[in-house]
Symmetry: C2
Subunit: 140 residues, 2 copies
DNA sequence: CTTGCTCCTACAGTGACTGGAGGATGCAAC
DNA sequence: GTTGCATCCTCCAGTCACTGTAGGAGCAAG
């Protein structure tokens, strides 16, 4: 039961850098674990699960603030999962918004590159397009 | 010709906050303009163009480092626009990569929300999906 | 002369880490 | 026992692209 795990080992198992683990501890996402006599952090399998959860959620783009709530909720398994769905739903909408923005942006970049005749900067369509803000529908 | 523009007016015309303009000056993207007797910055139409260029490029997601190069290039209109195309092309590839990542992410989020039966956190599919890292093809 | 807006500098804070300095610990080989 | 190396510790500064605040000065209108 006491299969103690060093911070380096935890780092390898969860795929999170050692410094980042310590940062998460300071930020309150990971608990301060017990220490060895030589003051080293001693983790267990529960910490690996929690850190993997954090890593996965961060990869999915959840902010640390969301993560704090998500972790708190997952610690109390008998509560309603409504707030969890709310956070995930809000995040999904944000992701969809980002995709839409990036797709528009990609269109503008492609257009810029296609119409450029690759001569001198003076006639560069890319530079012109960047300077001329008028045809990209920006608010202002 | 001397239609002097205050920093606030420049801010309104280019759609960039006053503090951000001063930040750009410190960062070397905007030149330090002449000053009035009362030590206020005096801009002209050229500054409006340059700042609009910067704003537009930033909106398109170019980093300040890229911007420095882009601005330098646009100041010498007789050079080749090859480097410009290179920067824009690199950026386009990055944008396409981001879109792909976000689309995968959107799929995972949707799947999580769809399969959740909205009961207690203990059975919440969203929490489970976040905890279980195995089926999302993450490297590790 | 006062009110209220704009402007000035200088510096701290954001989010989510990352990296380095300078030192302690742990363990294996010699 | 000691040498050497990897790993660990804390603390703090830096990253990016700003944003916000404090504390003051300039300037035009009423």
């Amino acid at each position: 039961m006491a299969g103690d795990i060093s911070i380096g080992e935890l780092s390898r198992r969860a795929g999170v850098k050692v410094t980042t683990i310590r940062f998460y501890e300071g930020a309150g996402l990971m608990p301060a674990p017990p220490r060895s006599e030589g003051d080293r952090r001693l983790y267990d399998a529960g910490h690996v699960r929690r850190l993997s959860f954090i890593r996965h959620a961060r990869e999915l783009g959840f902010e640390m603030e969301d993560l704090r709530t998500l972790l708190e909720l997952s610690d109390r398994p008998d509560g309603s999962c409504g707030p969890v769905d709310e956070i995930a739903g809000r995040h999904l909408a944000a992701v969809e918004g980002k995709i839409a923005k990036l797709t528009a942006l990609k269109g503008e970049l492609s257009r810029m590159l296609e119409t450029c005749n690759h001569g001198a900067v003076g006639e560069c369509r890319v530079i012109e397009a960047l300077a001329d803000h008028s045809h990209c529908g920006g608010e202002h």
